[in-house]
């Protein structure tokens, strides 16, 4: 009996160790000196070497800080774009009556399952024809699609949320003389804050981690985002850069980790709302 009682906590603790080990190892290795990173297998360094961080920061012709600024800009703009465009579409789907609504809704659900890689080639060709690829500000292809509510996951998440908002509130507002715009402005918008927060957090994390699209569209070192820049460490795979590579990896995961710590409950429940991706 006591053995059975112990089985669960012991399993969970062992599992936590397995789950956390890579993260702790990464953190420890980011402080190991060049010789230690190859020879010292223990999780913590014998001699703490914070120099990896400054070395990594200035490892390329462009400072790593620049890459983080670029990443933050792309992620920040994506957050704003997703919140606005998906909220508008969700309001139409959840609350307004119009012809073909069921049809468009079914299409929207269909695009949820459409793999992004299928469209990347023609989108690239299209944006290149527009002259948006390369140039002084190559981020338009990464952000314009979000302005047009193409991230169906968030539309779906917000529709689901709005369905939980009592319709009586809309009707009361209409009786008070509100137009559909008034209802949106005074009822739905203020009440949708939790859904907007979820959207903002997930948008940020996914964009921050996104690699494929940023790899495809960014070709100028100065315009690189953090994930694309990190792959340069692999290219230059001289063993001397392992420590700095780990240091920059730690830094690039830090924002996501901080978001996780700050919004843990919201994130876990947010994924439940519709349970997609992750």
């Amino acid at each position: 009996m006591t053995l059975q009682r112990l089985a669960r906590p012991v399993t969970l603790v062992l599992l936590s160790a397995v789950v956390l080990y890579p993260l702790v190892w990464m953190l420890g290795s980011s402080f190991k000196s060049q010789s230690e990173v190859l020879n010292n297998m223990s999780i913590l360094p014998n001699e703490w070497t914070p120099g990896n961080y400054s070395d990594g920061w200035s490892n390329f012709d462009v400072s790593f800080g620049r890459f983080f600024v670029n990443s933050a800009m792309v992620a920040g703009l994506t957050v704003v774009a997703n919140c606005i465009s998906c909220l508008l579409a969700a309001y139409a789907f959840a609350r307004l009556k119009f012809k073909l609504r069921g049809f468009w809704f079914a299409i929207m659900i269909g695009t949820l399952l459409l793999p992004g890689h299928v469209l990347i080639v023609p989108q690239f060709v299209m944006f290149k024809t527009f002259g948006w690829v390369g140039g002084d500000w190559p981020y338009a292809p990464l952000i314009v699609p979000q302005l047009l509510a193409t991230e169906a996951f968030f539309v779906f998440l917000m529709v689901q949320f709005m369905r939980g908002v009592p319709r009586e509130l809309d009707e009361a507002a209409i009786i008070d003389g509100c137009t559909p715009f008034g209802v949106f402005r005074h009822v739905i918008l203020p009440l949708s804050r939790p859904a907007l927060v979820s959207t903002a957090i997930f948008s940020f994390i996914w964009t921050w981690n996104d690699f494929f699209r940023q790899l495809v569209y960014l070709s100028d070192l100065e315009k690189y985002t953090a994930p694309v820049a990190l792959t340069l460490f692999i290219d230059s795979s001289g063993q001397s850069s392992v420590g700095p590579m780990f240091a920059m990896s730690v830094l690039s995961l830090a924002p996501v980790f901080l978001f996780f710590v700050a919004f843990q409950r919201l994130l876990v429940e947010g994924i439940n709302t519709s349970g997609l991706k992750g």
């Binding site: 399993t11 969970l12 599992l15 956390l20 080990y21 890579p22 190892w25 990464m26 290795s29 020879n39 297998m41 508008l88 307004l96 009556k97 119009f98 012809k99 609504r101 069921g102 468009w104 809704f105 659900i109 695009t111 399952l113 793999p115 992004g116 890689h117 299928v118 023609p122 690239f124 299209m126 290149k128 302005l147 047009l148 509510a149 193409t150 689901q160 949320f161 369905r163 559909p180 494929f212 495809v216 694309v228 990190l230 792959t231 460490f233 290219d235 795979s237 780990f246 990896s249 730690v250 690039s252 995961l253 996501v256 876990v268 994924i271 709302t273 519709s274 349970g275 991706k277 992750g278």
Partner: protein, 325 residues
Amino acid sequence: MATTTARPSSTRPPAGPAAAQRRGRPARHRTDGIAGYLFLSPWLLGLLTITAIPMLMSLYLSFTNYDVLSDWESMEWVGLDNYRTMFTDDPSFWHAVQTTLVFALVATPLKLAAALGVALLLNRPFKGAGLFRGLFYLPSLLGGSVALAIVWVNMFNRDGAFNSFLSWFGIEGKAWVNDPDFALGTLILLAVWQFGAPMVIFLAGLKQVPVELYEAASVDGASPWRKFINITLPMLSPVIFFNLVLETINGFQGFTSAFVLSNGTGGPVDSTLMYTLHLYIKGWNEYQMGYASAMAWVFLLAIGLVTAVVFRTGRFWVHYSDGED
């Protein structure tokens, strides 16, 4: 919001809009109709320009030799050549298909099994359950990034943490990531490590299973195993189905970790050449946009087919106990 919407039934196209439309009051229809399309206009524009037109364009491109570098005039119609080359004259294509299938078909069941197993452990309320739930969820947020893939690859390299673990048992490891027999395996482990997201969904599903069923089974003297087989699994089957569809589709699209492990080549010896990586190499390293478009269409059809098969088989093992919900 979580409790009411966590049910997988929410993914079925709802009967709501259409039904509401029939019942709707005509007086409000007109202004609502205009407002509806106004609010929907960004999405509609996106559907047209970012999704629909590119889809048709890629179908067209797939019958050409378009290379992005030269101008449109030099593009030629090549008929089915791209598709013919793909199936008969590009061994790497088949390596990519094989790699992707192995990855998706091994990683997905393992990941879901881990997710369900841990969800069952966490399902009963106890002190610290929330902490463990959050902790196990963390890898799902970090695991898709380049940074974590870099860490993972180094962990399974010759001097990595995995080999130091093996050395405790006197086993001498090797550079697993450079071995064609094991490289993909390390990527599968990375995918399984991210079991937290489906686990959270399983947990929400487990909360929906009526306690009375277990109580009734206990009265009848059922063992925990029998309860799991006869109550938990059937009641949870819609959630399992939901996770299965999503994780399978995700599995087919793995890119980042394979790119990092192989430095964008798919090596060693094509062993980590995921389909999307092959597509990327063809399109952006070799500038064969026509060929890459053809690959994208084959990919779309393949994923559609797999999804259809999963949905078909779902009829035999997914139970919707609450009817229409």
